[in-house]
């Protein structure tokens, strides 16, 4: 049997088609959370996050402000900024140019989670129509962390999880139920 990693941060990236599965995933997580969950979602500019509306009051989600300490709760990367993590476990925002036409970019946050949490980083990529996140998952794995993607044939848009699988054979593909089951066993 596979040994479960001990987790410092769960970072989840999603783009087109990821919102419903993300909601499903978050709603099935056991509370209280044992680790911070950071969500990086491609969204339209100047549009209030649909995520807040979609989730019941069951799970509070906050957009971190700069230098806010990272705690065991759910965070959503604010629109128009890249979200980074500092060694003292605080968030840092970054307003530099978009990557993959995206700000926040999934790669940027995954790189940062990999550098800080190393083998305790867990990256998850959901449905999406581009390649953001693939290099990020690869980096997490090369630092000893864990990479999971939504099984491409269950994703509304398979490009994003598929790109990660193509780049890193160690990535594990799972259904959403598989992912939540896995997360709920972790400590």
């Amino acid at each position: 049997m596979q040994v479960l990693p001990s987790i410092g941060m769960v970072a989840i990236g999603g783009s087109a088609g990821s919102l419903p599965v993300l909601v499903q995933l978050l709603n099935s997580l056991h509370q209280p959370l044992k680790w911070p969950v950071v969500i990086i979602l491609h969204r339209l500019k100047n549009v209030q996050s649909e995520l807040h509306n979609l989730l019941s009051a069951k799970i509070p989600i906050t957009e971190p402000v700069d230098k806010e300490p990272v705690e065991s709760r759910v965070y959503l990367a604010p629109q128009n900024y890249h979200l980074l993590i500092e060694e003292d476990r605080t968030f840092s925002l970054d307003y530099s140019e978009p990557l993959h036409f995206s700000r926040p970019s999934i790669d940027v946050s995954f790189f940062s989670a990999a550098a800080i949490y190393r083998r305790h980083a867990l990256g998850i990529l959901l449905s999406g129509a581009n390649k953001d996140g693939a290099a990020g998952i690869q980096r997490i794995i090369s630092h000893g962390g864990t990479g999971i993607v939504q099984q491409p044939d269950t994703a509304l848009f398979s490009n994003m999880p598929q790109a990660a699988l193509d780049l890193s054979p160690q990535v594990q593909a799972m259904t959403i139920d598989g992912i939540t089951g896995y997360l709920n066993q972790l400590r």
């Binding site: 900024y81 840092s92 970054d94 140019e97 790189f111």
Partner: protein, 273 residues
Amino acid sequence: MVEEISNRELSDIVQLVRTRYGYDFTDYAPASLKRRFVRFIGHVRLNSVRELLTRLENDPVFFRRMTQFITVNVTEMFRDPPFYRDMRELVLPRLASYPIIKIWHAGCATGEEVFSMVILLQEAGLLERCRIYATDLNAANLEKAGQAIIPLRYMKEYTQNYILAGGLQDFSNYYTARYDHAIISPALRKNIIFFQHNLVTDQVFNEFHLVCCRNVFIYFNRRLQDRVIGLFRESLAPLGYLALGLKESMMFTEERRHFEEVSDSSKIYRRKL
């Protein structure tokens, strides 16, 4: 290709830049500073931090290119429209009581934020009484700001921002379009002075009723944020206003006890008496 740089490498770069050129990035937030250096190394196609250090040691022109690249210069007119709405409703009416209104935009980049502010002031009938000091670390930014030339293709978005910010005039009255660019009307700009000022090393230079320092703090670590808020406190008249970026908070600094909150969502604060 350089994918990541270590703390040791970061401190080597920062130290070289400080001793050789007098620019101090010591207390910049490491995560984004590292990211900027990684991006720059890729941009100029170097293969290692060692190569970067060698170029920096020997080539001041290269150093200037690097500072230009790592200090992020992205800005917009009427960025975050609700902020400008709050300025219009909560702050400008209070500033109206001063015979001369002094405003400091710290980290003004290429001026778009300042041009937005003078439009608000003009519409509130206050512009004639304002003295606006707009500063930045980066000389190339200030030169652009002085020209007030903005690519025309951005104006559609800025017009929308302006309307969302509660603007009621015809936005195109505020600039002249020439070929593919717009020039902000000189009449709006006559009370603005642009000059170089480094928030890390330079001092208080005047007393202000409003200081805007938006989307600059995110580049600083907590210690530096605290110090720079101290600098702003000393630069503010009692009950003067301080505005930060929407995702920047005073919450995690020691200085917060000297301020009261005017708008949490817009990150507008007021110096206590």
